[in-house]
């Protein structure tokens, strides 16, 4: 499914995101943003929408800054 067809708040799990894919997504994000997701963020909610991912990344970057 192309990302541009999803709104920022669309439920990624409803769009077909699996738990396997969410880990792969997370590894991709860690590589792209040069961050490491802390244990407390490793849950369903963190990857539930594009907006949720954006919030998580900003939070990690704020904590690192």
């Amino acid at each position: 499914m192309p990302a541009e067809t999803l709104s920022a708040n669309a439920d990624l799990y409803d769009a077909g995101l699996t738990s396997f894919a969410s880990v792969q997504l997370m590894l991709g994000l860690e590589d792209a943003f040069d961050v490491e997701f802390p244990e407390h963020m490793l849950n369903r909610k963190t990857f539930s929408s594009i907006a949720a991912i954006e919030n998580s990344i900003s939070e990690i970057m704020r904590a690192a800054a």
Binding site: Y13, D14, A15, G16, L17, T18, S19, F20, V23, Q24, M26, L27, F37, E39, H40, L42, N43, R44, K45
Partner: protein, 395 residues
């Protein structure tokens, strides 16, 4: 059963009421294993003891029994008859979905009341031909028409399908939904037909009658759970199924160990003053049994802690720890039974007799197969790439 006698039944604790059903289960265990038939007598006994609705909250007609209570009963039943215990466990996994995710739905509340009042046995149709045991994907889809829905599912396993009073079935939310965008619905016996497609003639667990069926149902749409199946699976089903199954497997392991101990004791009596050589093996088996028990009891405590916090419940670390319980206990049960067979020797290898552990052996081998350990480990391996192990020794 009248309301008055139901009230009397509730005066004693569930575990005490189980005693009579345990005797019945033990009495028929070998026969249903040989015939590969449903444990009618034992399930009737469980219904008579009013034990099918214990987990349902009192406000919906049950007794609000805890997960620990149910796992303990699974273990006790597992010592008597593994097939009966597994049916009891699978029924309660379904009931736990109602208890955890059905309280805010009028229909599901009313259904819970009926499960408790009428002692309904609830089955499950979560696996599907073409997908196999991966319960988190469906091919079939709900087809809504007004206030009703229809659904046809090629279910390759519906345990005790022909003896269930209702079945919980998963499907895609609608024809357009992704394979993982699932819902779960409760359908009652008069709302579905079952056409058997795959018989159940297996090595062990022969009494669960986990045949394959073509399930066709038509029911009111309000029988679909309001919560997504993804939520139900992650927040209650995963933990409940692994812990309740583990209880059953512990029961199998415990009874095999008891038989081995009885055998050794009889041997020792014949030669006073000397310890039989296999006594060392029994001591080692006790170690394994204790490990298994610890894994289950910490798992229950872990769930009770996690259920208060949705973030923990849906965390990667929690999924890994629940998966690990399944892997650890399903392997332990076979190891323990094998050890018991080495101790009991030819008496244990024989079918039947008070020292036989051959049924235990066959039943135990199902543990690694049902929700295949290889698939669980493959899922977990993806998660362990990123999740750090919780090394705290306090909860």
């Amino acid at each position: 059963m009248s309301n008055a006698s139901a009230k009397i039944a509730h005066l004693t604790a569930p575990r005490q009421r189980l005693a009579a059903a345990l005797e019945i289960a033990r009495l028929h265990a070998d026969d249903l294993d040989r015939q590969g038939r449903f444990p009618h007598e034992a399930i009737e006994g469980l219904k008579k003891a009013r034990l099918l609705g214990v987990m349902i909250p009192a406000e919906c007609g049950g007794e609000g029994a805890s997960l620990a209570d149910v796992v303990d009963m699974c273990g006790a039943l597992g010592q008597a008859c593994a097939s009966t215990a597994m049916i009891f466990a699978m029924h309660h996994i379904k009931v736990s979905s109602l208890v955890t995710h059905g309280l805010d739905s009028l229909w599901h509340r009313a259904f819970m009341k009926r499960v408790a009042d009428e002692q309904l046995l609830v089955g499950s149709a979560t696996t599907e031909g073409g997908i196999g045991g991966d319960v988190r994907n469906s091919i079939c889809a709900i087809d809504r028409d007004g206030d009703e829905f229809t659904l046809t599912k090629a279910a390759n396993v519906i345990s005790y399908g022909l003896n269930a009073d209702a079945i919980m079935v998963t499907a895609r939310r609608n024809a357009e939904a992704a394979s993982s965008d699932q819902v779960m619905a409760v359908v009652e016996r008069n709302q579905y037909t079952l056409e058997m497609t795959i018989p159940w003639d297996t090595l062990g667990m022969r009494g669960t009658c986990s045949e394959g069926f073509l399930l066709k149902c038509k029911a009111p749409s309000n029988q679909i759970f309001p919560h997504a199946f993804a939520e139900i699976a992650a927040q209650s089903m995963l933990a409940m199924s692994h812990l309740m199954w583990a209880g059953v497997w512990f029961g199998i392991a415990a009874d095999a160990t008891t038989r081995a101990q009885n055998y050794l004791r009889a041997e020792a009596r014949k030669k006073p003053g000397s310890t039989p050589p296999a006594a060392v093996r029994l001591a080692e088996t006790f170690v394994l049994l204790q490990e298994m028990k610890s894994v289950i009891m910490t798992g229950i405590a872990g769930y009770e802690h996690a259920k208060l916090n949705e973030d923990i419940l849906s965390s990667v670390g929690f999924s890994i720890s629940m998966n690990n319980i399944k892997i650890a206990t399903s392997q332990a049960v076979s190891d323990i039974v094998r050890s018991a067979m080495m101790i009991t020797g030819i008496s244990g290898y024989r079918t039947g007799g008070k020292f036989s552990v051959s049924r235990h052996m066959r039943d135990s081998l199902s543990a690694a197969i049902m929700v295949n350990n290889d698939r669980i480990i493959a899922n977990t391996s993806n998660l362990t790439l990123v999740s750090k192990y919780d090394t705290n020794l306090v909860a």
